[in-house]
Symmetry: C2
Subunit: 540 residues, 2 copies
Amino acid sequence: MLGLMMDRPLLISGLLEHAQRQFADVEVVSREIDGTVLRYTYRDLAARARRLARALAGLGMGHGSRVATLAWNNHRHLEAYFAVSGSGAVLHTCNPRLHPEQLAYILNLAEDSIVLFDSSFLPLLEKVAAQCPAIGAFVLMGPVASMPAHSSLPNLLCYEALLDAHDDAFEWPVFDERTASALCFTSGTTDLPKGVLYSHRSTLLHSFALGLPDSLSLSARDCVMPVVPMFHVNAWGIPYAAPMNGCKLVLPGPHLDGASLFALIEREQVTCSAGVPTIWLGLAQYMQSNGVRPTTMRRSAVGGSAMPESLIRTFAESFDVEVRHCWGMTETSPLGTQGVPLAKHAGMSADREYALRSKQGRCVFGVELKIVDGEGDALPRDGKAAGELLVRGPWVASAYFRSDTPLLRDGWFATGDIATIDADGFVQITDRVKDVIKSGGEWISSIELENAAMGHPAIALAAVIGVRHPKWDERPVLCAVKQPGQEIDKAAILQFLADRVARWWLPDEVIFVDSLPLGATGKVQKVDLRRRYAHVLSST
Amino acid sequence: MLGLMMDRPLLISGLLEHAQRQFADVEVVSREIDGTVLRYTYRDLAARARRLARALAGLGMGHGSRVATLAWNNHRHLEAYFAVSGSGAVLHTCNPRLHPEQLAYILNLAEDSIVLFDSSFLPLLEKVAAQCPAIGAFVLMGPVASMPAHSSLPNLLCYEALLDAHDDAFEWPVFDERTASALCFTSGTTDLPKGVLYSHRSTLLHSFALGLPDSLSLSARDCVMPVVPMFHVNAWGIPYAAPMNGCKLVLPGPHLDGASLFALIEREQVTCSAGVPTIWLGLAQYMQSNGVRPTTMRRSAVGGSAMPESLIRTFAESFDVEVRHCWGMTETSPLGTQGVPLAKHAGMSADREYALRSKQGRCVFGVELKIVDGEGDALPRDGKAAGELLVRGPWVASAYFRSDTPLLRDGWFATGDIATIDADGFVQITDRVKDVIKSGGEWISSIELENAAMGHPAIALAAVIGVRHPKWDERPVLCAVKQPGQEIDKAAILQFLADRVARWWLPDEVIFVDSLPLGATGKVQKVDLRRRYAHVLSST
């Protein structure tokens, strides 16, 4: 027996229509590439998205077409989010930090017929266009005045000219909520990128979960600024959850240094943000150097990699900003876990609270997690047993786009992360399956060692890799970047670590470097480090 | 092109499994009929729900079976919520305040095969059982010791004996999320009751919306007490949203007077509640008389009928409790609107804020609203034009259970409420279509007059009805209950109203009564008043 409730599909266009009806005057603020700030409302966003939808339809975009973007967090990118997905086409957000060969590969695999791009990426596209003959139009996301005098791009069009040529008389189509809405490729460090194809249903359910008090907690009194890029896992879903909940939305553009972010946070009265730890490190350093603190910002989701406990503490104690540590992946839309204390934690000591907040948090409803051993058997939730983290739920990928790589294991997605889960459900990522250091048959967590090292005031960044060792199979090697103006040597950092980790975990070598190699999503590329330092322990 | 995300259905059993995994030790507190307090956890709830599911399967309950309940807000009723719906059967919550004839009618229409009931309702069921021969088992929700020595009920079973006979080895079945989960009949004041058949999908989407910051704002640090009955629109969805968000849940049983509620709120440290205005009036009177205020309770959703502005102000100023005025119906699951200020309202005067909060609020994402005139044409959102409120969304009913009454008008549910919507989307219910007073071709809002009258400190309750008038077709008559110990006469209340409403709105007659007739859901039965006072203006 089926219920007798309205059969209304969950569609991304519904988010925009809700914002237009209920939050017409709420602002969307966009910092453009040239540093100027554009300011309009959800009413304007909705009207321009409809005009863009008409313009793209005129270029041949139809239900199921793929439309690529190469763009920063700005208002035109946001318009494309709604115009493309709202029309039933697929928004393929490309990571501009991908190697040109990889970019050409994903544009061709997706069969993108239109590319919308910010002027910053004109040279990149000129490099790859010849390898992507199926692309019918390249649309530069700017006014006519920003168009280049010459370009090797075929079919180069101007975004604002297209919009000027169309009015906003457009009705969003209604279709199956399982329809594909967006495509995002993982940044393959060694393998080819793999595509995750989100649906309208998965996106809307994810938006509901993201707004809940124990996730980002988004209300109509919030001003949210996603620093995490819109080209990477849909800026963690904020472009959808903000109009759902009526939040003022601030899109920070390409300049994400501490000074630029702080100025924007203050001017726009941002209450809530989201980004990777390196962004918050830059912001903290700026605020500390200048003796300033945010007036309205009170919380931020931090994920992508682990936020050091010391930095979580700095944000709380020096800036009154709650860091909500989270974990997710391209394959999980990305909201997997979020770190917020439970009722039972009320009144606990600051030290215990920061230790708790340094874990990656707990799953919201909709996400199921378990950890398994090498045989696939579930491990206990005791905060000690570490195993591969498996996840399932309605916003978790079931397969990769046009790939034979099987994604599911008995209906679960095996994340490649190694984690513990404690009795309260708090997850702690201890490593990647490929990064964990196998020493004498035991595992050493590279991430725990890195966090311990970054607890030293003279260490700005740290990466620990497993290096081939004649006796122990692998042993840890610490690569560290010093804080500007600080000095520390190998003996001192080993002494510092000796108080914090088991003796047999202590790195066999410490290498001070000027910088660490970062990949397309801002993560340390350990594969490069392993190659570079493959032999440092050979003579041991 | 469909997305490639996991096809996981939204099921009510998933809420319970989530709570069991993530909030195993969080408490569920139940005040029983005899006043004793039972205290257990989501882990216990989940185990007992599985045992109940096995027991009910043993009594013949299968996918699509209907199982009725006649019960207060208590732990066994909660177990039935999950055991019945989780099994794929339909939980039919019956309102014990229905007339026995109506109760027999809905039990037969639903074809309920099992009835679970609290001992309070044994006499009522003994009255109707003979008219409901299809019911195979009557299960008294109590221990063996609570079983009556004699009863005319056939097949009378004991709930705890059934649970004792089964263990909790049970896997919740997986099925289509559109499957019917629960059935609730509207309380027909004049017509026969009409059944709304909720689905797992509608219930889960509603739960997501209910937990958002601008709805009830439910986190794992909240303790929520639904005073609104579990036999009426699923206690506004709180029994589902609480385990979704890990809230401690307090079920207050049958004793809802101010003293009982206050004691429970304080002992259990309730942070958030939900109920109809009469409940909060009783609580306010108790707290004022005793000079006390709640320690932890900071907000409550109030709906079912309009909360007078004066009472909203009392809760804010005397008790530091935010009243979130809401509107909904059995047909809307019920969350339709919720009154929370917008960012633009920051810093407004208290008077303006209370005026805003006396409106019924704004719709959350998922609910679409419009007001229409007599021809069905949309009226402007200007806060002045009043028309019938139409609603649609995935948790709005599309048809009544086994009824030929058409429910939809061009895909929208016509609520029978008359409302204004302002430019910010705030809805104000001005009347029911059947209660609005048609005077000389113009409309007079009975609700606005009632609210104005209840603004007088000597008036406890007020109802305004339209009474047949020889010249004006209808004219308003005010029926009022005085505050205990207060005196007021007709001239004084008319003088008071003259400053607050248009002159031609002033009631032609004022009738002071000891009490107003209340229906099964606690609303004033104006149909009774209209009958009783049909001729008071005939001699005019």
